[in-house]
Symmetry: C2
């Protein structure tokens, strides 16, 4: 597959200049940007909804989906500014798309910006969008073998969120294996367990985000 | 994103000649080939395991994963011939890889060949591997909005498998919306509901596969 990989690397190298511009812009503004990545249906949008209800910081969302604007509508109904991007068949977001989105989003006055990437554990992990942190989201029904099967995301993650822990009594999920495998790939990232139905764990995630907001502000400009 | 899309289309066009060769070979042998596509952790390998226990046809599996040979090992432990392909970062299988796999798999004497694609709802749907049917697998914890968000797979699917129906009491899943959305994209594909823990629905799936085996044999050569 060397030819295909070579083409992809060229595309990625070209896109890196947009990522650098996005990163520079967000540094000037002092607003951290989180790139949220996980499988289809792992709970990315539900996590953002939970924050809308509980966080004391203001945020907006760039929503990446192949089709439909359902996720942006879900967030808008909770008062969150959400800009929907439809990739029309493309399996991940790229930095030049994020740069365009930022031109039409009023980010001044926000505390933090989230990007919800296309539901996919593979390609979104390979593209730098200019984010401060990539956040890996994995849900218990997917099984505990995902970190080693999709290592690139977990290696890079600034935090790993294990969602749907309320389903643990009903699914086969080896929690110890999951944690050990994440640790073997990424010794430092916090692993946060969440039940987005009851809200358990949302507080710890909100604190994590708040900490990053403070750090970024102190390095702004 | 037109430049990237143009590059991808060129790669796909080049790969199509391999897909045609694979299709010709499998027609000569009279063996149907199923390309199983779904999100990470939706139950693709578990479906193959369930067949190993219950089906009266013989089959082998080409296993696509970015990393690890866990899935092939799971199947081998049940006596199924499984050839693991590690794509090392590439998010889908391509036909030239399948052609190479077929050269090292003894398919004569098999009734059917399965390909378990990389866990991903996007790119695997875009590449023809020379299969007879693409099978879409979607699990209830992923939510009912997946067909419209990832339409390409559902439009092409020869059958749609809804897995983990045993979790219906514990997850938010609008079954009627799921069925209606699949029907709007694909009026004909059977929608089979499966609980791979109890085995409910496996019989109907095995019958579907058996029917395709008979059809293919009658058109062999």
């Amino acid at each position: 597959m060397s030819k295909v990989v070579t083409i992809q690397q060229a595309v990625m190298a070209e896109d890196e200049k947009y990522a650098l511009r996005v990163r520079k812009l967000m540094k000037e503004k002092g607003i951290p940007m989180f790139n949220i990545i996980g499988s289809p249906g792992c709970g990315k949008t539900t996590l953002l909804e939970a924050m809308a209800d509980r966080a004391d910081f203001s945020f907006a969302v760039i929503e990446g989906d192949l089709e439909t604007s359902r996720d942006a509508e879900r967030l808008a109904s909770r008062g969150v500014t959400a800009l929907q991007i439809n990739t029309r068949g493309w399996c991940h977001l790229e930095a030049h798309v994020v740069e365009k989105a930022l031109a039409s989003l009023d980010v001044d006055g926000l505390d933090v910006l989230f990007i919800e990437n296309v539901g996919n554990l593979v390609c979104p992990a390979e593209f730098d969008l200019g984010e401060d942190l990539k956040i890996a989201v994995s849900s218990t029904p997917e099984g505990a073998d995902k970190p080693l099967k999709y290592p690139m995301l977990f290696v890079q993650a600034g935090a790993v969120l294990l969602t749907k822990i309320d389903l643990l009594p009903h699914v086969r999920f080896d929690r110890e294996m999951f944690v050990n495998d994440v640790r073997s790939l990424n010794p430092r990232a916090p692993i946060l367990e969440l039940d987005l139905t009851s809200g358990a764990g949302v507080g710890a995630w909100v604190s994590f985000v708040s900490e990053k907001i403070k750090e970024k502000r102190s390095h702004a400009g």
